[in-house]
C-alpha cells in the first residue's frame, strides 16, 4: 500500500550561480509531519518554494522531480504543471503558511476579501453567502472572532495575523500544508499556542505537514520525521525519536547541543562556530568540514553520500568504512561537540 502524498527526488535549485538546494530527496507520508531544520541560508525555505513552484527569477529548479500522489488517481508531476493546471493545483493540494505574517497578508485588502479570493477562484460555483459562511467558519476554527472578518491586517496582532494565515491555508482542505517558519516572529507563548493549533487542526483534517524552522526544539515535539539540512543538502534524515535519541551527523549534534535539553538536564550550551558555506562557489568535500570538530583529511576531498545507518540516513564520512576504517569518533557517539579538543581529534 502506497501512503505517500508527496515525493521529492534529487531536487536541485539554483539562483544564478548559487546552488541553494543540491540533490534533495524525501518522501512525505499522508497525514505525517516532516520537520526540516537548519540554519538560515541552508536552503530550507528555497526547498519549500520549489515544491510549490513559487521560485522567483533568477531562482529555478535545475534538476529533480516532485510528485504529488492524490488519494485517487495518478501521480501529478508538479514541476511539469503549467498555467491553469498549476493554478488549480496550488492551495487545493499544497497550501502554505508564510514566514512573516506581517508581510504575507495584503495590507490594502480586508481579511474578508483575502479569504473570499480563495473561494472565488477555486470554487466559482459558491455563492457570496456561502463564501462568507465558510470564511467565518475558518476564522472560528483558528480561534478568531468571526466578527473581525472585515478587519485589515494592520488592525490585527502578530499572533492573530498568523492565525488568519493558517485559516486561509485550511480553506480548501489541502493534502499538504507547508509551514515556513510560521512562528519566528512571535513571542514564545504565542508560538506554543500556534503549534498546538496546528496539531489540533491536523488531527481534525488529516493533512500532511512540511514544517520548516531553524528552531529544532519546536520540531522534536510535533514531527514524525526530521530532515536536517546543511549547505543545500539533507545531511541527516530519520524519525524524530531516533534523531533526538541518537543523532549521527556532527551538525545535528551541534544543533541539538545549541538548545537546552527538553528533560531539563543541565548541559553546556554551544553554538556552532563558523558560518555556512558560500554556495555560489564550487565545493569540494563535505560542506560542513570547515566547521566540524570531527573532520579528517578525507572530509575535505570527498563529498559524503546520504547512507543508511540503522533506520536513519546520514551523510557523514565518519561512518564511511572505506575512508574512515575506525569506528566513528567516541566523542561524536557521546553527542559531544567540543571545539576545545579539536587538535586532539585531528
Amino acid at each position: 500500500m502506497n501512503d505517500t502524498v508527496l515525493s521529492v527526488r534529487d531536487l536541485s535549485v539554483a539562483y544564478g550561480q548559487t546552488r541553494a538546494v543540491r540533490g534533495v530527496s524525501f518522501e512525505l507520508g499522508r497525514g505525517q509531519v516532516l520537520g526540516i531544520a537548519g540554519e538560515s541560508g541552508c536552503g530550507k525555505s528555497t526547498l519549500a518554494y520549489a515544491i510549490n513552484r513559487l521560485l522567483q527569477p533568477p531562482g529555478r529548479t535545475t534538476s529533480g522531480e516532485v510528485a504529488f500522489h492524490p488519494k485517487d488517481g495518478d501521480p501529478i508531476d508538479v514541476l511539469a504543471l503549467e498555467g491553469e493546471e498549476l493554478r488549480r493545483f496550488r492551495w487545493r493540494r499544497v497550501a502554505m503558511v508564510f514566514q512573516s505574517a506581517m508581510n504575507a497578508l495584503n495590507p490594502v485588502l480586508s481579511v474578508r476579501r483575502q479569504l473570499h479570493d480563495v473561494f472565488t477562484t477555486h470554487e466559482p460555483s459558491m455563492s457570496r453567502r456561502e463564501r462568507e459562511e465558510r470564511s467565518r467558519e475558518l476564522l472560528e476554527l483558528v480561534g478568531i472572532d468571526p466578527g473581525r472578518i472585515g478587519a485589515y491586517p494592520h488592525e490585527l496582532s502578530g499572533g492573530m495575523r498568523q492565525r488568519v494565515l493558517i485559516a486561509m491555508a485550511m480553506a480548501l482542505n489541502p493534502d499538504v500544508v507547508v509551514l515556513d517558519e510560521p512562528t519566528t516572529a512571535l513571542d514564545v507563548v504565542v508560538q506554543r499556542d500556534i503549534l498546538e493549533e496546528i496539531d489540533r487542526l491536523r488531527e481534525m483534517f488529516g493533512f500532511a505537514v512540511v514544517f520548516i524552522t531553524h528552531d529544532l526544539s519546536l520540531l522534536l515535539e510535533i514531527s514524525d520525521h526530521l530532515a536536517i539540512m546543511y549547505g543545500g543538502r539533507i545531511v541527516e534524515y530519520g524519525t524524530s525519536k531516533d534523531t533526538l535519541l541518537q543523532p549521527r551527523h556532527p551538525y545535528t549534534v551541534g544543533l541539538l547541543n545549541s538548545f537546552p535539553s527538553l528533560r531539563g538536564e543541565r548541559q553546556a550550551l554551544h553554538g556552532i562556530p563558523g558560518s555556512p558555506p558560500d554556495l555560489s562557489k564550487e565545493l569540494t568535500g563535505c560542506s560542513f568540514a570547515p566547521r566540524c570538530p570531527y573532520a579528517f583529511e578525507g572530509c575535505h576531498t570527498h563529498e559524503p553520500e546520504l547512507d543508511s545507518i540503522q533506520d536513519s540516513l546520514v551523510a557523514c564520512l565518519q561512518y564511511d568504512r572505506r575512508l574512515h576504517p575506525a569506528r566513528p569518533d567516541r566523542r561524536l557517539r557521546e553527542r559531544r561537540f567540543d571545539h576545545a579538543d579539536h587538535e586532539v581529534i585531528s
Binding site: 518554494y49 493554478r87 496550488r90 508581510n103 497578508l105 490594502v108 479570493d117 477562484t121 485589515y152 494592520h154
Partner: protein, 328 residues
C-alpha cells in the same frame, strides 16, 4: 476622520501661504506695479501726478503700512473681488478668469486622466512582465521625461499641424465657422483643437508615471503577499491588479503633487504655443501687457485649483490605503 482634519488643516495653511506670497511678491521685489508701469512709460518728462494717482487707484496701491494693506487685501479676496483687469478694462479680473478657466480645466483634467491611466497601466504591465518587450521600452521614457514641454509643443505643431495638416494650428475651436453651444460641430471642433495640446501634455507627462509605477511594481512583486497570492492559486490578473498594483500605486499617488506641479507648468507652455485661450495663455498675456491685477488673480486661481486637486487626491489616498484612515 483625524486624517481628513489633518489634511484640511494642511491645505488651509498652504492656501494662506499662497495668498501671502501673492501679496508679498510685488511689494517686496519692486515696490508696486505703478512704479513699474511708470518706469516703462517714462520718457523725457516725469508723468503728471494725476496720472500716477489714477494708476494707483486702479491698482489699489496705497501708502498705508504693509499690515493694513495686507488685511485690506484679504478682505477684498473674501468678498471675491480680484480687482480690475488693465488689458480688458473695465472687465473685472474675475470675469476674465471665468472665461479662461473652463478651457484649462477641461484640457488639464482630460490630459491628466489619460496620462495617469496610461502611465499606471503600462507601468504595471511592464513591471509585471519584467524583461518583456514592453519593459525593454522603459529606458526610452527617460528621453520623453527630459523633453521640454515648450519644444514638444512646437514640434507637434510643426510636424502634425503645419506639416501634415492633420490638426488645426491654434485656438480652442474654429472661431470663424462654429458657434459655441451643445452641437456636434462645436464639440467636434473642440476635440480636434484640443488634441495636439493634450498630446503634448500626455507625452511629456507619462514618463514619470510609467517609470515610477514600473519600479514600484518590481519592488512590490518580491513582497510575501504577492508570492502568497500566487501560492493561493489566484488568477494572474487578480494577483497583478489587486495584490501587486494596488500596493505599488500608493507611493506614486503621494508623488502626485510634484507631478501636478510639472503638469501645470507644461499647461502654461502648451497654451502659449497653441494660443489656447486658457489661464496659462491669459497669464502670459497679462505679463506682456503689465496687467498686474490679472497676473495676481491668475496666480491665485491656479494655486487654489492645484491645492484643490491635491486635496482630492489625498482624500482618494485615504480611500485606497486603509492604514491612513485609522492612524490619521
Amino acid at each position: 476622520m483625524a486624517y481628513l482634519w489633518r489634511k484640511l488643516g494642511f491645505y488651509a495653511v498652504a492656501l494662506w501661504a499662497a495668498l501671502t506670497i501673492n501679496f508679498l511678491i510685488p511689494r517686496l521685489i519692486r515696490g508696486n506695479p505703478v512704479d513699474i508701469i511708470l518706469s516703462r512709460f517714462q520718457t523725457r518728462q516725469p508723468p503728471p501726478p494725476e496720472f500716477r494717482k489714477a494708476l494707483e487707484v486702479m491698482f489699489g496701491v496705497s501708502h498705508d503700512p504693509l499690515w493694513v494693506q495686507y488685511f485690506a487685501y484679504l478682505r477684498q479676496l473674501a468678498t471675491g473681488n480680484l480687482g480690475t483687469s488693465v488689458t480688458y478694462y473695465p472687465a473685472p479680473v474675475g470675469t476674465v478668469i471665468g472665461q479662461a478657466m473652463p478651457w484649462t480645466l477641461g484640457l488639464v483634467s482630460i490630459a491628466l486622466l489619460i496620462t495617469v491611466g496610461l502611465g499606471v497601466g503600462l507601468g504595471m504591465v511592464a513591471g509585471w512582465r519584467r524583461g518583456s518587450w514592453l519593459d525593454g521600452l522603459i529606458p526610452t521614457t527617460t528621453f520623453l521625461a527630459a523633453i521640454p514641454y515648450f519644444w514638444l509643443a512646437l514640434l507637434l505643431l510643426f510636424f502634425l499641424g503645419a506639416g501634415l495638416g492633420w490638426f488645426p494650428l491654434n485656438g480652442a475651436y474654429d472661431y470663424a465657422h462654429v458657434r459655441m453651444g451643445f452641437t456636434g460641430d462645436f464639440i467636434g471642433s473642440v476635440l480636434c483643437h484640443g488634441a495636439l495640446p493634450a498630446l503634448t501634455l500626455v507625452i511629456s507627462g507619462i514618463a514619470g508615471w510609467l517609470l515610477g509605477m514600473r519600479n514600484m511594481m518590481v519592488s512590490t512583486m518580491a513582497e510575501d503577499y504577492v508570492v502568497m497570492a500566487q501560492a493561493k492559486g489566484l488568477r494572474p490578473r487578480r494577483v497583478m491588479v489587486a495584490y501587486a498594483a494596488r500596493n505599488a500605486v500608493l507611493p506614486n499617488v503621494t508623488g502626485f503633487a510634484i507631478m501636478l506641479g510639472f503638469f501645470v507648468g507644461g499647461q502654461v507652455a502648451t497654451e502659449v504655443v497653441f494660443s489656447y485661450p486658457g489661464v496659462g495663455f491669459a497669464l502670459l498675456q497679462a505679463v506682456g501687457s503689465a496687467d498686474y491685477p490679472l497676473m495676481q488673480g491668475l496666480f491665485l486661481i491656479i494655486s487654489v485649483a492645484v491645492l484643490a486637486a491635491n486635496f482630492l487626491v489625498d482624500l482618494l489616498y485615504g480611500l485606497i490605503d486603509p492604514r491612513v484612515r485609522k492612524a490619521g
